[in-house]
């Protein structure tokens, strides 16, 4: 890309100074193709769905607080956990990572937008309307054989429960169509990420110098392209079953219910990493800045990300041990699952080694990163336990599994996403988030998280099954469930502090300036918030830490980096 100055007078930056009206405001938000605005819109809808889905989780925990409880009906309970899982994965996790990718990748590689801006807007609106479609199921055909209302088949929607004979009405169709819509949006994002990262890097930014954040998002984009189609294909088959009388998953006519599980988890397990690697990506940018050291083992980090991306495509059946697989399959999937532990271990080692000997600043983004390291390690260890087929036969479909994956997704992913929000909020808004409120948010969320999910491991070990509506007293589960439910209250208080923090900081937060953290990647070289064209002059890069070179001309990185 040539260093041509952006024609400043013709940009919308000048137009924005004109008279402000709410119609113009709405018009701009609906028609925008700007990657930063779309990125923020993705993150805003992710947070809105997060609140909706969090309330569902609160209802689930309230129902399970006491034995023999009947706070909600069993039907409503099934809808709660189905909508909670579906929303969190497809309408919180996916939009959030799409938002991070959209906002940050062009800024980090010195580009002015994503490769396909209009396609990008299409992806956002598909995702949003997918979510609206899912939630509109609550209002649809409520009288239809008691099967109107929201989907109630679990977020994995196992066949043959989803067949027309067992799920009449429209709820399952809402589930299928809304997810196909949002998956199309995610596929568009993935295509955009790869085309942007491969084609729009600024002069001098070789792949070797590209920020690790962008590298990891390339791996994620590849996984989305390869792993989402199995879900889409299986959902199309299910639609054919339900509407045209096909027999893919219809066990009465040689169809195969287990085939659904294979296709679903062929998507479902890579999906775990599609959600998790963006978390890794954020942590990889934040830990070095707050340890005042470059990342340890840069090349190993890239290698580990790529190998996680590839290995995760071959581990899906560890979700299916309890189905009864041939023992050779059990061994294969147990070994391949444990293999993922190797590159993940490399990453945890590298993050720790980056902190080692650094001058660590314990500000809120870093606190979330450190909590992530501890909690994700524990989640990984219970993951290795569950990878062992005989152990899984005992504890599959128990609350041990629930506790395990909530440790990865809250203790791991959510922490990294909050770290990312605290780290990049100043860039996006020009205002700092309050450290004082941030620490309240952090500690309340962490204490609440542990009060909720630590006991659930033990409830699972004592045999409490997943998706159970209620349970009789006297099995030793009461105490664990009681504490877990109170933990939700503490977590909610933490989230309330976060909302307060965002509102308060937007209103009267401290001005951030271009580079509040003294960081090293290109997004901190432009103003906060960045102008629509990002960089007036396309920057030229000579090392993986271009801003370090700029700030330390006496000791630049490019003197030491190879290639």
């Amino acid at each position: 890309m040539a260093s041509v100055p952006y024609p400043l007078d013709k940009g919308r930056g000048a137009a924005a100074k004109r008279a402000y009206s709410w119609t113009r405001f709405a018009h701009e938000w609906v028609l925008t193709v700007d990657h930063k605005q779309l990125g923020l819109m993705y993150i805003i809808i992710a947070l809105l769905f997060f609140v909706a889905s969090g309330l569902q989780a609160a209802v689930i925990r309230a129902q399970l607080m006491y034995p023999d409880n009947h706070l909600v009906s069993p039907q409503a309970f099934n809808r709660m956990f189905t909508m909670h899982g579906t929303t969190m994965v497809f309408f919180v996790g996916m939009p959030f990572i799409a938002g991070l990718a959209n906002y940050l990748i062009p800024l980090m590689i010195g580009a002015r937008d994503m490769a396909f801006p209009r396609l990008n807007a299409l992806g956002f609106w598909l995702t949003l309307f997918g979510g609206i479609l899912l939630y509109s199921s609550y209002f649809a055909w409520a009288g239809m054989a008691g099967q109107g209302s929201a989907p109630d088949v679990g977020w994995f929607a196992y066949a043959p429960l989803t067949e027309k004979a067992f799920s009449p009405g429209t709820s399952t169709d809402f589930w299928i169509l809304s997810i196909i819509m949002s998956s199309t949006g995610s596929t568009i994002t993935a295509i955009n990420v790869l085309a942007t990262a491969l084609c729009l890097r600024t002069e001098g930014m070789t792949l070797a110098r590209m920020p690790l954040f962008v590298w990891m998002f390339c791996v994620v984009a590849f996984q989305i392209l390869v792993a989402l189609p199995p879900l889409t294909a299986a959902q199309v088959m299910l639609l054919l079953d339900r509407f045209l009388g096909a027999h893919f998953f219809d066990t009465r006519a040689s169809g195969d219910a287990v085939l659904w599980q294979h296709f679903f988890w062929l998507f479902g397990h890579p999906e775990v990493y599609i959600l998790m690697i963006p978390g890794f990506a954020s942590v990889t940018e934040i830990i070095p800045v707050f340890s005042r050291k470059p990342i340890f083992g840069r090349a190993a980090m890239i290698g580990a990300s790529v190998s996680i991306g590839l290995i995760s495509l071959g581990v899906w059946a560890h979700h299916m041990y309890t189905v009864g697989l041939p023992s050779k399959a059990n061994i294969f999937f147990a070994v391949s699952t444990m293999l993922v532990g190797v590159p993940t271990g490399i990453k945890i080692f590298n993050w720790t080694a980056t902190m080692w000997g650094g001058r660590i600043r314990f500000q809120t983004p870093m606190l979330f990163c450190i909590a992530f390291l501890f909690q994700f390690l524990i989640a990984g260890l219970t993951g290795i336990m569950l990878a062992v087929a005989p152990f899984d036969w005992q504890l599959g479909d128990s609350y041990f599994v629930v506790a395990h994956f909530h440790y990865t997704l809250i203790g791991g992913l959510l922490c990294t996403l909050f770290a990312a929000v605290y780290y990049w909020f100043p860039k996006a808004t020009g205002k700092m988030l309050s450290e004082r409120l941030g620490k309240w948010h952090f500690w309340l969320l962490m204490i609440g998280f542990h009060v909720t999910f630590d006991p659930l491991h033990f409830a699972g070990l004592l045999g409490m099954p997943r998706r159970i509506y209620t349970y009789p007293p006297g099995r030793g589960w009461e105490g664990f469930n009681y504490f877990a439910s109170w933990g939700v209250v503490i977590q909610a208080a933490g989230i309330a502090f976060f909302v307060w923090n965002v509102v308060d900081s937007l209103w009267r937060g401290r001005k951030a300036g271009n580079d509040p953290w003294d960081a090293w990647t290109l997004e901190w070289s432009t103003t906060s918030p960045p102008p629509e064209y990002n960089f007036a002059v396309a920057p030229i890069v000579r090392s993986s830490r271009p801003l370090w070179d700029l700030k330390h001309p006496e000791d630049p990185d490019w003197k030491y980096e190879q290639s």
Partner: protein, 199 residues
């Protein structure tokens, strides 16, 4: 003005970005399409020979030689069209593009005849047995891709007839030809699975 403007201007280590974003995006699209088709192919192979009742593939399927010849040769004519466009030979481009459209349409006509026979004469529908289920979904998925490709080719053909200067859009026409080659390549797989292995 951003501070990055002050970054050192290096002439020695600049990298030329010669990747075309359209092509990269298109390869990504093909990758995800390949993944989609492989699931349907897997389902076809998985359910092969599992139908409890007839009709069975060996009884009702005949190898669609003519349709296959048409579709595969249309890839050749599409490539000739792109080359003509590159050489700015407009009439030749319209001719080869028209032949491509006709060959693609003939393939679809053959599929329609085959489906009509299967439904009317042999009584095989998508709900008859798992053979019907997997056959119609796999061949139908491919046929729907042919329809999309054909629509786009027709659009380009019409634009050319209306006198639009397609030379400027050579890159886009080339990407469309890639899509058409992809549809052809998928047919080779579908043909092998359905009419050779599955029969």
């Amino acid at each position: 003005m951003s501070t990055a403007a002050a970054l050192p201007l290096s002439t020695a280590q600049s990298e030329v970005q010669n990747l075309d974003r359209g092509k990269v995006g298109f390869v990504c699209l093909i990758l995800t399409e390949v993944a989609l088709f492989s699931i349907f192919v897997t389902a076809y192979l998985f359910f092969m020979g599992k139908s409890q009742t007839g009709p069975y593939p060996a009884d009702v399927l005949t190898v669609p030689v003519w349709g296959t010849i048409c579709l595969l040769s249309s890839s050749l004519t599409a490539e000739l069209a792109v080359r003509s466009l590159r050489a700015n030979a407009k009439a030749r481009f319209q001719l080869w593009l028209g032949v491509t459209v006709l060959l693609g349409a003939e393939f679809l006509r053959q599929t329609a005849i085959e489906w009509h026979k299967l439904i009317r004469v042999d009584g095989l529908t998508i709900s008859t047995n798992v053979f019907g289920t997997t056959y119609y979904s796999l061949v139908g998925l491919h046929a729907s891709h042919v329809v999309i490709g054909l629509t786009l080719l027709l659009l380009v053909f019409a634009l050319g007839l209306s006198g639009a200067s397609l030379h400027r859009h050579e890159r886009r026409v080339e990407l469309l030809s890639w899509y058409w080659h992809f549809v052809d390549a998928v047919w080779v797989v579908v043909f092998t699975v359905v009419y050779i292995i599955g029969r």
